[in-house]
Symmetry: C2
Subunit: 353 residues, 2 copies
């Protein structure tokens, strides 16, 4: 093992996950929900970064969800060493900076993970981490490149460059969410990967890169942590200081600009569960290609995703439909159009305004 | 006017209307619901048989709905002269017999109407009644024949025979629910009408016909009324006596067998609202051919019927779908398949058993 120190998982729990409305809401976003298993997305995330290799995690989230986060991690015996509660959302680069400072800002490796993704093949994930560690020890910033299986236009892509270590490559180029034809070409090429938003690097190297490429962000985050209020394991960074930080993604602020950036390609059954269609794709389906709970009765119905927290749903003769009932809200759309939940939410906001 | 006596509307409110599940249930069946207007189907029925031509109605219903019936008729100032509460369902022929006895069994004309049909053109209905009355005075049993506009296989049909009075014809033949090709042929012929289940005849003539063609039914109904318990306007026919009655429709027990049976063809915007498809067909539709309440938000959605008593329903990219949310139940099926609600209810019963 190239490191004495255990890896600190940094779990980013700041998303609002409205693309899975009406189950996911600002009050109870995707990461706090059980979508693919009994355990919530947050619990599954914490669980896949536990074991002798890992220290207790640092979770970055919002005050509104602090109690839920603590309860969910407590339930599975995976309490965080620190819960950093962002005074306001400033995208991923500053959030990770807060965690890097909380971790001590030293050579400890940080495994940065969104809290609302699925990884079906955890051993493959762990193997990829092992492949990354030697480079991380040498100061590289490592991203994990998901082996693509579709021409996704909703993800960033990474052009995988020359091999620099077993299983690890230099990043040749980051590609922002591409148009369809570009995505198809990259998928066909075979030398591109999806940017899954999972990173491994030393805390000091990340903060150093931030100092080089986004110094205002480093100052704001550092100051916010210096002036933070602490309450048990909860850390409340100073709001005035943190407000000064630019709001940028780690990709844009650091990864696309830094020199020594590596990618470890990995095929691990990853999904960001970024839509109801994505959930249908990764869920166990019955013999009629339906994903239904026990509260659903179907006759002559195929290819549907039907979820309900309470209501009984009865369907006849329906094909390829997504139906989600939660509380007093019901969503209905055809499979393939679940990205348009956003349009609906905007239209609802407009109507209620 | 051929009659001194005003016509007594006989409103049959015994249906359970489960084809409009989940809005319509045994507890609150179709006739007690507002489906096509602010007023309930029962209220609309009572209202279209009110005015100087009509006496107060006799309603035949079930004990479970007595209070609802009284309240709804009270709300529109159309209280019944008698509310006959059937101890058990015995189909329409005995139900009408109870009403005929309650009406006095004399020459008073009875206008028998289901309580859960729609008639858009009430003046046309009233004109048909006027056309029927001279024959009714002479002792004919009159049925109203709905001018058909589709090859309906779910209705009984009537072959319209020779003219016997202005606007009135002898019934050449009753045709039970026909197969599709037969229905198409009858529609093309132009000499058939739908049997809408609305009748006009003298109470004595109906009871007489019953004595001839279904004597056991007459005895059971008469005895049940002789031994009835009365409570204000409520009439509780004797259960033991009524239980002896065969269970038959008026068509089968009387109309198809009696000698002097006439039909008055009428085009009056009639619908039995016998399915969600039927409701879509007769409802006012928006520019996208949708029938939606204010609780529904649609984007790129056409040809849908969406109803909800409480939940907010959001839809994108959906076509020709029926969605009904009521309480804790949600029904989803494509337009054209709403007859299959029955299958769903049976499947649910099986599952719950």
């Amino acid at each position: 093992m190239p490191f004495e120190a255990a890896i600190i998982p940094v779990i980013l729990s700041g998303g609002s996950g409205t693309r899975l409305w009406p189950i996911s809401t600002r009050e109870r976003p995707k990461q706090l929900l059980s979508l693919t298993a009994e355990e919530t997305m947050l619990q599954l995330t914490a669980r896949r970064a536990s074991g002798p290799r890992f220290a207790a995690s640092i979770v970055v989230g919002s005050t509104a969800h602090a109690q839920d986060i603590e309860e969910q991690l407590g339930e599975i015996g995976a309490a965080a060493q620190a819960l950093v509660l962002e005074p306001m959302a400033r995208n991923t680069a500053p959030a990770i900076a807060l965690a890097a400072v909380a971790a001590g800002g030293d050579a400890t490796p940080l495994l940065v993970m969104p809290s609302d993704h699925v990884i079906a093949d955890v051993p493959a994930f762990h193997a990829a981490i092992e492949a990354a560690l030697p480079l991380v020890a040498e100061g590289w910033l490592v991203t994990f490149g998901i082996t693509p299986d579709a021409p996704e236009t909703g993800y960033g892509w990474i052009k995988v460059g020359e091999a620099i270590a077993p299983g690890a490559h230099r990043v040749a180029r980051f590609v922002e969410k591409p148009p369809r034809d570009r995505a198809e070409a990259m998928l066909a090429d075979g030398d591109h990967a999806w940017n899954g938003g999972i990173f491994l690097f030393r805390a000091d190297m990340y903060l150093g890169a931030l100092g080089t490429h986004a110094p205002a962000m480093l100052v704001a985050s550092q100051t916010a942590m210096d002036r933070a209020r602490r309450e048990g394991k909860r850390v409340y960074p100073d709001a005035d200081a943190f407000a000064e930080s630019p709001s940028e993604s780690i990709d844009y602020a650091v990864m696309e600009k830094a020199e020594r950036v590596a990618v470890v390609p990995v095929s691990m059954g990853w999904s960001d569960v970024g839509s109801w269609d994505a959930l249908h794709a990764i869920s166990a389906r019955d013999e009629n290609d339906n994903v239904c709970g026990p509260e659903v009765l179907t006759i002559d119905t195929t290819g549907c995703l039907v979820r309900s927290d309470r209501a009984r749903i009865a369907m006849v003769g329906v094909k390829d439909l997504i139906v989600v009932a939660s509380g007093e809200d019901i969503l209905i759309l055809p499979r393939g159009r679940s990205q348009e939940v956003k349009r609906l939410l905007e239209a609802m906001k407009e109507r209620d305004a």
